[in-house]
């Protein structure tokens, strides 16, 4: 009888965890840090909404507000959404799903968690140290980021370390998928979450070094004044924007592709049906990774690029929507004639599709040059971004956590709690970010700490929405914390999933598999008579 991975390993609780190279423990380490940081950023978001409840300064000064949206963005993006699914569920599930005992480089895996922790600590430290919290927005645009006296260098260095952590994870996952698959697990028998992680890992490896050098240049510019981004010395700020978005646009696919992968696992399990269009979904992940690297300048249509560049990037932006749409059609087709069970993870997964469609289609709108000029730097962008990143990745993260929670911790949670949380989150989310989109269409600029009277109504509505949303989040986390403490023991396969992680006990044994399994069929053979 194998012990499970959560049981003490005899080095003391702390060392058991922070010195462990077990991919499952590392996944849980990421999860705990990430959720803590998530709540910090949520509270900052709520404070910003409270400030917008009234006109004029109420809770904070404009400078504080600038620091708040910067820190909210930096934490949410670099410490939650970006590493979210790959670092937590990728680490935990990838080896289990391909029938391996660990990733290819377990020690480098732990090292990348340390980079993550140090990066996170420095990001938090930049709020409190000397010069004051950075106030540039998460994009660190020059020349302002070169002139401001706040702790930009420290925050930028933190982002650099987090990027390094992301690169190491990417290298690890690519190698793992190539080298560690169980016998019989051909590329077309891999679960689609693995395909998504594989595509994501390539984006991490290809794009992250570019932000690495860009951030280093900002630090060098601030410290030594080398001049490459400083207009006073002949440097070109638009080149900074190019370098920044060459990474940061692909980065949004690092955020969304694994989220789509998790949804692709959840839907066939609860529809009791094999996935429709396996290969189309698998290769659309790769297509997103490839095309997503070629659209960065659609963030810069108003920055003064040539007409030709604008047109080319607009066209590419429309094209990148195609592989995402392919996935949506395949999910819906999978549901058709399925025996759908509306368990909690399924509710979150279905609302992911709904919210992601809104987020994705409003993205296509902004890809149109004429409309983009009107919408640029308004609340519409903020609304769109939250529909994709929170409605998309966030809801997928919460869906994935509910789906794999019994496997990861060996406990079951209250379905009622998870569903009540979902109702609140879904309603609050749409009120909050729907209002933001309307505000943006009417012309409310983003990143302003105050607003004109004609925007007041919708600002109040949005703030009320933020309360409902936060209530939902609170219920969600309380439900899971209670399950962690008092939940009933979970079975090996509570949902009847067929991928390999459900074949081991819950929580999984230290070595994952006593005997490495041999794979003989597709991972989604729910209705073997109907599959070819």
């Amino acid at each position: 009888m194998n012990t499970n991975y959560l049981e003490p390993q005899g080095r003391g609780a702390l060392r058991d965890w922070i010195c462990s190279t077990d991919h499952k423990r590392i996944g849980v380490l990421y999860l705990s840090v990430m959720l803590t940081m998530f709540w910090v950023a949520v509270l900052i978001g709520v404070l910003m909404r409270l400030e917008q409840m009234t006109m004029g300064p109420t809770l904070m000064t404009p400078a504080t507000y600038n620091a708040m949206f910067t820190v909210h963005g930096v934490i949410m993006i670099f410490l939650f959404v970006l590493p979210g699914l790959p670092a937590v569920f990728g680490n935990f599930m990838l080896p289990l799903m391909i029938g391996a005992r660990d990733v290819s480089f377990p020690r480098i895996n732990l090292l990348s968690w340390y980079f993550f922790i140090v990066g996170g600590a420095l990001a938090v430290a930049s709020l409190f140290l000397g010069g004051g919290a950075p106030d540039t927005g998460w994009t660190f645009y020059v020349p302002f980021s070169l002139r401001t006296g706040t702790n930009v260098s420290l925050a930028v260095f933190a982002a650099f370390l987090l990027g390094f952590s992301s690169i190491l994870t990417g290298i690890n996952f690519i190698t793992t998928v190539h080298r560690m698959r169980a016998p019989g697990m051909t590329w077309h028998r891999m679960p689609l979450f693995v395909w998504a992680l594989y595509s994501t890992a390539w984006i991490q490896v290809i794009a992250t070094p570019v932000i690495g050098i860009t951030l280093l240049l900002v630090i060098l510019e601030r410290t030594f004044g080398i001049g490459v981004f400083d207009p006073a010395k002949g440097g070109d700020p638009v080149l900074y924007q190019h370098l920044f978005w060459i990474y940061s646009h692909p980065a949004v696919y690092v955020m969304i592709v694994p989220a789509m992968g998790a949804i692709t696992e959840i839907i066939p399990t609860f529809a009791r049906r094999t996935i429709f269009g396996y290969k189309a979904i698998a290769y659309s992940s790769i297509a997103i990774a490839a095309l997503g690297s070629l659209v960065w300048a659609h963030h810069m249509f108003t920055s003064g690029m040539s007409e030709l560049a604008n047109t080319v990037f607009s066209l590419l932006t429309f094209i990148v929507a195609v592989p995402s749409a392919i996935k949506v059609f395949n999910w819906t087709a999978t549901l058709y004639k399925g025996s759908t069970k509306l368990e909690a993870p399924m509710l979150y997964a279905l609302s992911f599709i709904f919210l992601f469609c809104i987020g994705g289609l409003t993205g296509v709108m902004q890809g149109a040059l004429a409309l983009n000029v009107h919408l640029h730097d308004t609340y519409f962008i903020v609304g769109h971004f939250h529909y994709t990143m929170f409605g998309g990745t966030g809801f997928a993260f919460f869906a994935a956590l509910l789906y794999w929670f019994p496997k990861m911790f060996g406990r079951t949670y209250s379905k009622k709690g998870a569903v009540v949380a979902w109702v609140h989150m879904f309603i609050g989310f749409n009120i909050l970010y729907g209002s933001m989109m309307l505000l943006g269409l009417k012309g409310m600029p983003r990143r302003y700490f105050d607003h004109l009277p004609q925007y007041h109504h919708l600002h109040v509505v949005a703030t009320v929405g933020s309360w409902i949303l936060v209530a939902g989040l609170a219920i969600y986390f309380i439900t899971l914390l209670r399950a962690l403490l008092h939940g009933a023991k979970a079975e090996a396969s509570p949902w009847g999933g067929l991928t390999l992680e459900w074949t081991v006990s819950s929580p999984p044994p230290v070595e994952n598999f006593d005997v490495i399994p041999t794979v003989t069929s597709s991972p989604y053979a729910y209705n073997p008579t109907r599959t070819s």
Partner: protein, 198 residues
């Protein structure tokens, strides 16, 4: 945990890492090409101030160091551990020579007031300021990579001495070699871009 050794996996991991290193410098090459196309004459003028002889000498030093490192790998595979250790030590020595020469070049430039925000440099045209900004950034970053490579080579030397790198188990030295060759190749690009720009 069962001991799991996968040389091909380690090699794949290293190549992926080299790929990220190339992209790291790639951002700088992008800036270089953008600014050079904007200021061709000023890049030409600034490039003529660098010491071509020292640049070429350093190139030869690095190429030789790659050669000694490649030889050491062959020596390990032939079971000649003693020779392999000497060759790795020679590589570290050549890396040191490179850094010393580079140090003399930089300090000469500093003495002339040519450094980021330096009084002499700020009097120049924007294209020259950008040229030297990129020169110090790229050669500096490259120098840091040489330092990192030398640290890794020292670890390899220790492993050779302890016998953990030996015939049939030389993947660590092989991967350090890959890294060192990449750093060498980057220099091969820096030489024409800066020293031969004139």
């Amino acid at each position: 945990m069962s001991v799991h050794r996968d040389d091909l996996g380690a090699r794949i991991g290293m190549w992926l890492f080299l790929f990220t290193e190339m992209l790291l410098f790639g951002g700088l090459f992008l800036l270089y090409s953008a600014y050079r196309s904007l200021h061709p004459l000023e890049f030409h003028a600034a490039g003529s101030e660098l010491n071509v002889a020292l640049g070429v000498f350093n190139t030869l030093v690095l190429l030789t160091s790659s050669y000694t490192l490649a030889l050491s790998l062959t020596a390990v595979e032939k079971g000649q551990a003693q020779l392999a250790k000497r060759l790795v030590a020679a590589t570290i020595l050549l890396g040191t020579v490179f850094l010393i020469v580079k140090g003399f070049e930089w300090s000469a430039e500093f003495r002339h007031g040519i450094y980021p925000n330096g009084p002499e440099l700020l009097k120049r045209a924007p294209g020259e300021v950008l040229f030297f900004g990129l020169y110090f950034t790229m050669t500096g970053l490259h120098g840091l990579h040489i330092l990192a490579g030398m640290a890794l080579l020292s670890v390899a030397l220790l492993k050779l001495a302890k016998g953990t790198v030996k015939r049939g188990e030389s993947i660590f030295l092989e991967n350090v070699g890959l890294y060192w060759h990449l750093v060498d190749v980057i220099w091969i690009f820096l030489l024409p871009l800066f020293y031969l720009a004139a």
